[in-house]
């Protein structure tokens, strides 16, 4: 089998594969940088929790309008933001920490979402919401994903400096600029928006995968925020491309194939990365020659 037949022909021959590839590119451009900030802000698990919080909103959208892209997206967005807000309020008003209150809300959300979908839909509908289907992404969904990515990059450019400072020296930011919480809220909105974009393709359970795994892998290679974000987007896109090919050539479900490819890059980085990897830590003298 030639390289062309393995790596390029599936995209040249089939429109659904091309659309899936473009969806991966759009998702990668938004999710890569957002995931980088989630890792730097030590909010990786929060991203995971938030992705589950989208489910009941998407389910309500499904209940109202069936498998409608817009209804499920708006529902997911509203409920995702509401859960993030509620978790924040509970942690400030009580002695519970934000991660614990978020975990509580996401479990409730997940159960509620599954309950809502199963009252009306079939198991197939439930699987669609939970695991998505990047191969069935249509032009409308593609536009939504691309719009969210564009908006995310523009918004990140606007809040880049305060967001970076808030990550590593929040006291300084509040002293010189005030409003540290404003940037946190804008960032949370971007996280939820990108998870909504991701769930069209990968489902609520795996949407966060393309956000976190490339960002966590990039941490082992890059040493500046901008290069982390760029590398993270690149790894996300390559994982999408390779995952789609694995899915096509071995007849495997596309979502898990993409996330597992990103997982393979992450595992490789843990062992061989340039900064803080196992190789670095336990064999500091060993160098790889290019």
């Amino acid at each position: 089998m030639s390289l062309y037949a393995t790596a390029i022909a599936p995209f040249a021959d089939y429109g659904f594969m091309r659309r899936a590839l473009v969806a991966c590119l759009a998702l990668a451009l938004g999710s890569g940088p957002i995931g980088t900030f989630l890792v730097l802000r030590r909010m990786s698990l929060m991203g995971d929790a938030m992705s589950h919080a989208i489910l009941p909103g998407a389910a309500i959208g499904f209940l109202v309008a069936g498998l409608s892209l817009w209804a499920m997206s708006v529902g997911g967005l509203v409920v995702g933001l509401a859960v993030a807000l509620l978790a924040g309020i509970v942690s400030r008003a009580t002695s519970l920490r934000e991660d614990a209150s978020l975990a509580g809300f996401y479990l409730i959300s997940l159960a509620l979402g599954v309950l809502i979908v199963s009252t009306r839909g079939s198991n197939v509908d439930l699987l669609h919401v939970l695991f998505g289907s990047i191969l069935s992404v249509d032009d409308q969904a593609l536009l939504l994903v691309a719009s969210i990515s564009t908006l995310s990059l523009v918004a990140l450019a606007f809040i880049y400096r305060p967001l970076v400072v808030e990550c590593f020296d929040p006291g300084f930011l509040r002293a010189v600029a005030g409003r540290g919480s404003l940037y946190h809220v804008v960032f949370l909105v971007l996280v939820v928006l990108n998870l909504v974009a991701g769930f069209q393709a990968l489902g609520t359970l795996m949407a966060v995968g393309l956000m976190m795994l490339p960002a966590a892998a990039a941490r082992f290679w890059a040493s500046a925020v901008w290069s982390l974000a760029a590398l993270s987007a690149f790894i996300a896109f390559v994982s999408g491309w390779a995952g789609l090919l694995v899915s096509y050539n071995f007849n495997l479900p596309s979502g898990p194939a993409i996330i597992l490819t990103a997982g393979a890059v992450y595992s490789f980085s843990i062992v061989f990365g340039r900064h803080g990897s196992l190789r670095n830590r336990y064999f500091p003298g060993a160098h790889f020659h290019n």
Partner: protein
């Protein structure tokens, strides 16, 4: 009261438990003041409230028209993520925030000032080093370089010498002395009483409530320190008592 910063009957609480209790007094313009007291005395809480990071439960902090750009603040190192992927020059350049704001670019002149500030704190040529590679002392020098660029008339330092080597402490004390001579108002949370006696003309002794505030030799008396320790012992006993009940 008519200092550069006045404090009137200030109480600051966490979860309704007061950390600073009915403190009143005034920081004179150009004064060099050490804030001292036992652990848990509310020293950092007081300094954070002066900066505006915490809000008074009752009472007030009067800043007499000083804006954000007029107060430079050095947080405790523990409050900063030192594993963050940022280099020394970018960290110091944050001191130009008043000029660049959220979006402004740093011009070549600005980068020259960054290099000068780094040279001033003894870190010439360190600009491209990641902060994660620095020792605690070197990192504190970086934060002092950032303070130099902020060029503020009031400078607040929260435990500037905690876990710092002797040579760095001496160098940074010289910078503080220089600020004082230049007429800036400097307020620092400190632990080392000998250091305070030698270098800080004014002292504020705190044990949640104000024990003394004035010339260091008059504030740091044996009686006052004993009283501060007794109050601290009171919180510890109270805490243990409550913990015993809870168990």
């Amino acid at each position: 009261m008519c200092g550069v910063i006045d404090i009137a009957d200030l109480t600051v609480a966490y979860d309704r438990r007061p950390a600073v209790h009915h403190v009143s007094g005034s920081f004179a313009r150009g004064s060099l003041t050490a804030i001292v007291g036992p652990n848990g005395a509310g020293k950092s809480t007081l300094i954070k409230t002066i900066v505006g990071l915490m809000h008074p439960s009752t009472g007030r902090v009067e800043r007499h028209g000083l804006g954000r750009r007029d107060i430079a603040y050095l947080p405790q190192q523990a409050d900063i993520d030192r594993s963050f992927p940022i280099n020394v020059a970018d960290t110091v350049a944050l001191g130009l925030w008043n000029e660049t704001g959220l979006w402004g670019a740093i011009k070549p002149k600005g980068w020259n000032r960054v290099a000068d500030a780094l040279a001033h704190v003894g870190l010439e040529g360190f600009g491209h080093h990641p902060i994660a590679a620095l020792s605690a002392g070197q990192f504190q020098r970086v934060l002092f370089a950032r303070l130099l660029l902020q060029d503020a008339p009031v400078i607040l330092l929260d435990e500037p010498f905690a876990a710092i080597d002797e040579r760095t402490t001496a160098d940074l004390l010289a910078i503080i002395q220089h600020w004082h001579e230049a007429g800036r108002t400097v307020i620092a949370v400190l632990h080392d009483m000998e250091q305070v006696r030698h270098h800080f003309p004014q002292t504020l002794l705190l044990a949640r409530e104000l024990i003394g505030w004035g010339p260091t030799s008059q504030v740091l008396t044996d009686d006052a320190l004993r009283r501060a320790r007794a109050l601290a012992q009171g919180w510890t006993n109270n805490h243990n008592h409550l913990a015993g009940h809870a168990a």
